[in-house]
């Protein structure tokens, strides 16, 4: 449902994403890993049609991100890095606005999604006054509200307490059967818990595209050790190139 082909993006002299290709199917939960500045968020921003790639393209839910960007955005649920929202609005009116743009009936939908993301208690609070965890879950609710077939979540559990993390992971697992999900995270246990696929990138290039089990088999050790081994102190050509 997501097919990324040779995506490239540079900001001035910095190459943020350099020839990234991978694909994700229905039922997959892909963990998008890499050190800070590896190009994860930039890739996700291109997939969600916020940034346009310099070259290459991708298909999301069958639509081209450059030529059919509105159709992609209709099909996609996207949670950006810091869960941006309109701070002066209450959570409820914010979700109402999202429903309005997406042409869905607000009342039942908001109730359902608030329940799913456990934000019923803060619906009447201004988003600016919410704690980080609630704020992120309002963002998650926003991404789920139209029951999208593809979900792209940039660090969905960042800032959540252990209970909330547990809930969100369960939610993602629950959703995964019917959807295609990409999450970026720095928490490697999370990858083990919910992802059946891993794409590891560094300096804008894909280093590894496989499954958690396969990675352990080929590289030995746990995911943290493998992550360290692949992203520090190794020559690029050891595993380089797009998968």
């Amino acid at each position: 449902m997501i097919e990324v082909k040779e995506l490239r993006k540079r900001f001035g002299s910095i190459v943020a994403v350099d020839d990234v290709s991978f694909s994700v199917g229905k039922g997959d939960v892909l963990g998008f890993l890499g050190p800070n500045g590896a190009g994860k968020s930039t890739t996700m921003k291109m997939l969600s049609c916020f940034l346009s790639p310099d070259s290459g393209t991708a298909k999301v839910a069958g639509f081209d991100i450059i030529k059919e960007s509105i159709a992609v955005r209709k099909e996609l649920g996207y949670l950006a890095e810091n869960a941006p929202a309109y701070e002066e609005m209450t959570a409820e009116s914010f979700l109402g606005f999202i429903c309005d743009v997406r042409k869905i009936k607000a009342r039942d939908t908001i109730e359902r999604v608030a329940n799913k993301c456990s934000i019923e208690n803060v619906l009447h609070q201004q988003i600016g006054t919410l704690s980080k965890g609630y704020r992120r879950r309002v963002g998650l609710a926003q991404a789920l509200i139209h029951d999208p077939s593809v979900l792209i979540l940039d660090e969905p559990t960042d800032g959540l307490d252990p209970n909330q993390k547990y809930e969100v992971r369960n939610l993602i697992t629950e959703l995964s059967a019917e959807k295609c999900i990409v999450i970026s995270t720095h928490i490697l246990e999370e990858v083990d818990a919910i992802c059946n696929r891993i794409v590891l990138i560094d300096k804008g290039q894909v280093l590894e595209d496989s499954t958690p089990d396969e990675m352990r088999k080929t590289h030995g050790g746990n995911l943290t050790e493998i992550f360290r081994k692949l992203t520090t102190g190794q020559s690029k050509n050891a595993v380089g190139g797009a998968a």
């Binding site: 916020f50 955005r73 609005m89 309005d100 743009v101 042409k103």
Partner: protein, 243 residues
């Protein structure tokens, strides 16, 4: 159309969720009244709103940039622009939605000056023509200033910079044909250029409307000016969504 309406409604509500609209309305109505009476509304001995309207450029030159400055700068600052443009709506819909929301606040402010109209009707027998054309001119002038303000708001994430640049932009177009500026321009530039400058002057267009003659070319001038600045605004947003 749907995207336009959603953005318009959200933005308009946004003005009233925050104190901006109330502060604007109170200050505007106060000064519109004070300036009119200070400038000799009674002493003139005429049942006319000319003195009331003639102060509008001076009021709007500060107040229109004050309402417009947040339109895009705030979206950039809080990253909510990333949320906005990963929803299925186009840059054109978003820019127009925001602009018309700001213009609606101004329209409301102008409607709330109705006691002035009642006053002149109590005092005498004024011409309806100049009152209608005065309101139309004020509304169009504010629209032009808001379009300029919206443009400058889109090029920065800092509202203060947006505010100051908008005032300079509005001021240039307003005062370019004032005698002292014209005199200086004539010293340095060829005559044809001075004529062009005069043609662009908002002040003379506005005053021509105040005389009670609604001319198509004056209205077209304002509308084209608004369209031009909004087009530039759309281009900026399209090219540079991420700051």
């Amino acid at each position: 159309m749907n995207g336009f309406l959603s953005v318009f409604k959200r933005e308009l509500k946004g003005y009233f969720f925050t104190p901006i609209a109330y502060v604007f309305l109170v200050i505007f109505l106060n000064f519109a009244g004070i300036m009119t009476f200070k400038d000799g509304f009674f002493e003139a001995g005429q049942a006319s709103l000319y003195i009331f309207f003639i102060n509008m450029p001076l009021l709007f030159i500060f107040l229109a940039p004050a309402i417009a400055m947040r339109l895009w700068a705030e979206e950039r600052k809080s990253d909510s622009i990333e949320l906005l443009f990963t929803l299925p709506l186009t840059s054109v819909q978003a820019v127009l939605g925001k602009f018309f929301a700001a213009w609606t606040v101004v329209l409301l402010a102008l409607i709330l000056t109705f006691p002035m109209v009642i006053t002149v009707y109590q005092l005498g027998n004024p011409d309806l023509g100049p009152i209608i054309s005065g309101y139309l001119g004020s509304f169009l002038l504010a629209g032009a200033f808001l379009a300029i303000g919206s443009f400058f708001s889109s090029i920065t994430k800092n509202q203060v910079i947006a505010f100051v640049l908008s005032i300079v932009g509005c001021g240039t177009l307003l005062f370019i044909a004032s005698p002292s500026v014209m005199f200086r321009l004539a010293n340095y530039f060829p005559k044809s250029l001075v004529y062009i400058a005069e043609w662009f002057s908002l002040q003379s267009r506005f005053e021509s409307l105040l005389r009670g003659v609604i001319e198509v070319r004056d209205i077209a001038f304002f509308l084209i000016l608004i369209a031009g600045w909004l087009w530039a605004n759309i281009m900026v947003i399209k090219e540079r969504k991420a700051a």
